[in-house]
């Protein structure tokens, strides 16, 4: 793993990506400790206060300190997106590898159904699921995971297919290894690299999808300090307090860019060509 990290750091994308991620991770881990005020403390006199020494990033329509809300909100935005993406990727990966391994009619059936599900765009699928499960951050995460699974299944299947045709898989089949051993010990380790790359990039989509769901009012619910919700609320007061809109938007962008850059950096670092 460390050797992978050093190779990632050497690449410009990787370096910038990791430093941004470190920033986001800092907010996620020590957010509440760093926050100067309680995120939900309303302050009548502080409404729409411009950024200054009292509120470093200004205050919103309730007079709540935006910097504190950003710090605390990190915890309810990024980890949720991470969990949703990796859950969706795991499910998708298993479907993809399984479908590639069994091949033939099973593969055809699974992939055709998978494509059918992909006919419904991610956001709409998430909306449908959230309206069923009920509004809220937890349900939004589940909805995003389910919406991501078909896409990941498709990517994994194509990677798994060419791993399936490798001779070492054929050798394993020839010597009578069980299907489970082949899928989990022979195929999956070699399919991991592209899965990791693909899901890292999808985390940035998850962060944005999560924010969009909150914007549409079905994701995180007030008074949660989730970034997407902060942007949605701030939009009404954009002309009195533009900072209330800009701060969370920048935060979402930083998180999304971080995962995008790391995804690309990983793609080069894990690229078999420079494995030597």
């Amino acid at each position: 793993m460390t050797e992978l990290l050093t190779r990632l750091i050497r690449k410009p994308q990787g370096f910038v990506g990791l430093s941004l991620l470190a920033l986001v991770a800092l907010a996620c881990l020590f957010g509440p400790a760093l926050a100067p005020y309680a995120p939900e403390k309303i302050n009548f006199l502080g409404r729409f206060r411009a950024p200054g020494w009292q509120n470093w990033l200004g205050a919103d329509q309730f007079g709540r300190d935006i910097f504190s809300r950003l710090m605390v909100g990190a915890r309810s935005t990024v980890p949720m997106a991470l969990i949703a993406t990796f859950a969706g990727s795991a499910v998708g990966a298993i479907i993809g590898v399984g479908s590639a391994y069994f091949g033939g009619r099973a593969d055809e059936a699974i992939m055709r159904t998978n494509d059918a599900v992909m006919a419904i765009p991610g956001l709409l699928m998430a909306l449908l699921l959230v309206s069923t499960l009920g509004n809220g951050a937890g349900n939004a995460a589940i909805a995003i995971a389910i919406a991501f699974a078909p896409g990941m299944a498709r990517v994994t299947r194509s990677v798994a297919l060419n791993v399936r045709n490798q001779d070492y898989v054929k050798a394993a089949i020839a010597r009578g290894e069980g299907a489970l051993w082949i899928i989990f010990r022979e195929m999956l380790p070699n399919v991991m690299a592209p899965i990791v790359i693909e899901s890292t990039i999808r985390v940035s989509f998850a962060v944005m999808l999560f924010a969009t769901l909150s914007f549409l009012g079905v994701g995180a619910q007030p008074p949660a300090s989730e970034w997407g919700l902060m942007v949605a609320d701030a939009r009404q007061y954009m002309y009195q307090a533009p900072w209330a809109l800009i701060a969370p938007s920048v935060a979402i962008a930083v998180a999304a860019i971080a995962f995008n850059l790391i995804g690309d950096g990983l793609r080069d670092a894990l690229n078999p060509k420079d494995e030597r």
Partner: protein, 515 residues
């Protein structure tokens, strides 16, 4: 037995109609032109008896007419009915209809149409929201083609006001007996405008009804209603001259309009309010001390600041705002955290109490009030968790059943209407289940009381009882906020929030030429 003032007051006559046009306008309004108005959500139901939200009330007001109409000062004026007479006991009312009025399809308006319409509204199968709001009507009959007699189940002074209710628009009898449902897609009323095109999600177009009973009105040739779901973008459209008039806006955008040129920001105090309903039949709110403790924890001016953006008036836990006729000016309840804590302790909650406050997601102000109250009440020991949910789920599982949730209501025409709607034991929407017989007695007495002074004393007593017993915490009334281009004339922002009178509107100098 009836005092002269009383008769004059109740028996509205055609006289007042003729006065109005001269007094209000300096010189005759310009005829013609196209008005573009934005509405915040699609008017998906244009069936007059089933309309539920403001855009739908607007469309049906353009296409149909009631017997009577509410003026901005909440008093009544004639519409299809020219005059009306109660009997001494206020249990029977006779309405005289305006002669030679025709529906859009040319068929004449007769008393039979009024009878059929009222009966349809009262029929539970129609499921019309107006059923419980048009007054205690037992029976309605046509005495002659232009006269209708209402027989009530009890004395009721406010029938003319009740008949201004938004669903009580008169439709042709042949439609009621034929296909009532056809009104969902086609319109045949007596209103100032006729329906030209109906694409609910995008645009609704109405054009002048040449056969309207008042030749002077409407002034406009055509009105286009456009759906703008996003308030911020809608405000930008108004400032850039895309739209002439908008139905409602938020405090945030209102302040933009105040500064923008060519735009006139409109504001009027109203009786629209958010109430925090306390289930008085279940723990812990069956104990009045808990309710009073919560009422003392809330800083009313602050809620006006936070939730109404400063555009509102603080509430005193009674549903009547200063815009109401029988409003009693009780000194505003000041927050008193120490006393609230003491009351909670007496009620058996020395170290505070955990509660879940439910707020549906429409309108967004419900959750904002929840958040504000949660912070304020925390100091007094209330540990409140605010939970939001989709409006449909809220209606299905929480409304009228929950013990602690946020309600939202437009201003009603009369004090009796609002009390009977929400707080009497047999109220249509008895949310708090307060079921206070003393309070019911006061309201019923006021209902039948003719004497103005006695009636206002009774309503005053009712307000005092709610002020002390706090069945629900009402901390803020909202001003209605809207905006128009400066060249729009004759539009009055009505405190009821769902009356528009676009037939009075005309386009002055500087209006863009629109085909």
């Amino acid at each position: 037995m009836l005092s002269i003032t009383r008769r004059h007051f109740l028996a509205g006559t055609a006289i007042s109609l003729t006065i109005l046009p001269k007094m209000a306008l300096a010189e005759a309004p310009k005829r013609g032109g196209v008005l573009r108005m934005s509405i915040d959500q699609a008017a998906s139901v244009i069936h007059p008896m089933l309309a539920r939200v403001n855009p739908e009330y607007l469309v049906t007001e353009l296409l149909y007419s009631n017997l009577t109409r509410l003026k901005p000062d909440m008093t009544v004026e004639p519409d299809l009915a020219l005059s009306w007479e109660p009997n001494a006991a206020l249990t029977e009312w006779v309405f005289k209809l305006r002669p030679d009025v025709t529906f859009h399809d040319g068929s004449p308006l007769t008393a039979d149409d009024v009878v059929a319409t009222i009966n349809a509204i009262l029929d539970p199968k129609t499921a019309s929201p107006g059923r419980t709001n048009v007054g205690p009507i037992k029976e309605v009959a046509a005495l002659d083609p232009l006269t209708v007699k209402f027989t009530l189940s009890g004395a009721y002074a406010d029938l003319p006001v009740a008949l201004t209710y938004l669903n009580a628009r008169i439709v042709p009898a042949k439609v009621v007996t034929g296909a009532l449902a056809s009104l969902s897609t086609a319109a045949n009323g007596t209103g100032p405008f006729k329906l030209t095109s109906y694409e609910p999600d995008r645009r609704i177009i109405v054009e002048r009804n040449p056969a309207y009973y008042d030749p002077a009105r409407p002034h406009l040739d055509r009105i286009e209603l456009l759906v703008y779901p996003d308030r911020t973008a809608e405000a930008s459209a108004m400032i850039s001259g895309e739209i002439d008039l908008l139905l409602t806006t938020t405090p945030g955008q209102y302040e933009r309009f105040v500064k923008a040129d060519g735009v006139k920001a409109l504001r009027t105090p109203s009786g629209q309010f958010l109430n925090i309903n306390l289930g008085c039949d279940q723990k812990p709110f069956n104990d009045v001390r808990v309710r009073q403790a919560l009422a003392l924890a809330v800083d009313r001016e602050a809620t006006v600041g936070f939730v109404a953006g400063g555009y509102g008036t603080p509430g005193n836990d009674t549903p009547l705002s200063s815009a109401y006729h029988f409003y009693k000016n009780i000194p505003l309840k000041k927050p008193d955290i120490a006393k609230a804590k003491q009351l909670l302790a007496d009620a058996g909650y020395p170290n505070g109490i955990d509660l879940t406050l439910i707020a549906s997601d429409q309108p967004a102000t419900r959750a904002q009030l929840g958040v504000a109250v949660r912070e304020m009440a925390a100091a007094a020991g209330f540990r409140i968790n605010v939970q939001t949910m989709p409006h449909a789920t809220y209606l299905d599982q929480v409304w009228k059943k929950g013990i602690f949730y946020v309600g939202f209501y437009n201003m009603q025409p009369t004090a009796d209407a609002i009390f009977n709607l929400l707080y009497t034991s047999n109220a249509a929407w008895n949310e708090t289940r307060w079921n206070n017989s003393a309070f019911d007695a006061v309201i019923n007495a006021a209902r039948v009381e003719n004497d103005e002074a006695k009636r206002s004393a009774l309503y005053g007593k009712a307000q005092d009882m709610m002020h002390t017993e706090v069945p629900s915490v009402i901390s803020a009334f909202f001003d209605l906020l809207a905006a128009q281009r400066s060249y729009v004339e004759g539009y009055v922002l009505h405190p009821r929030g769902s009356v528009f009178r676009l037939d009075m509107v005309s386009l002055g100098a500087g209006a863009p030429k629109r085909t």
